[in-house]
Amino acid sequence: MTEPSLRTSRRRFNYLGSAHSGTGDHAKMHLTSLALIPLAIAFMVMMLRLGAHDYNGVRNYLGHPGPTILMILFIGTGILHMQIGMKAIIDDYVHDHAIKDAALIANLFFCVALGVTCLYALVRIGLA
């Protein structure tokens, strides 16, 4: 430590490393993992309940604020987590620059589209 600073430790290490990226991804991965431990368990419990319901039962269950909010938190955090995860897989295995860029863009678009789709469905059920 040199002198006291108001900068957070995250800000200090964010662009370090030989590629000037990656540590930020690691921090995001760590944080989303932590959040996903309880959220994934909650998701599993909710899916168990939903699996036993018919159409009206599912809509009634997802109409309550608790399950809807937990589901939105799970999907939002999960999508951020899986976007970074797939980015790491692409970085590791795709070496052709053009294909790699295309794959990274496709990954981002897929994740955003998936998130918006799930959010739209949940809001539509919740506000019905």
Binding site: L48, Y55, G78, M82, I125
Partner: protein, 132 residues
Amino acid sequence: MSDLKLGRARPMSPHLTIYRLTMTMMMSMAHRVTGAALYLGTLLLAWFLIAASMNSATFAVASGFMHSWLGMLILFGFTWALMHHLLGGVRHALWDYGWGLDAPEREWLAIGTLAGGLGLTLVVWLIYGIWG
């Protein structure tokens, strides 16, 4: 990765294929594979939610597929992937804090991830069997 073309082939560092398979190595691969599987599995969740947001006929198609033997098989696999990846993530978090990095702990954590993931999957489907 540099694009420099060198005169002769450079020596490559040893890669996956020349190492003896170890438990920690297989669990490392399984973590990636389950992660990628969950990535694709989210499509099923999106389909389920969109179908539930529409009318009962649309929902019946999605629900019908998910209750078919193929659907159940995929959901069983999804459950295992989620549980295995969850425990694998906890293992990685423990390592990040510097715990369990020695050989015996590494081995136990790897076996625990595998056994725990399978065990939790069976528990979840047992509960489904009783509730559903």
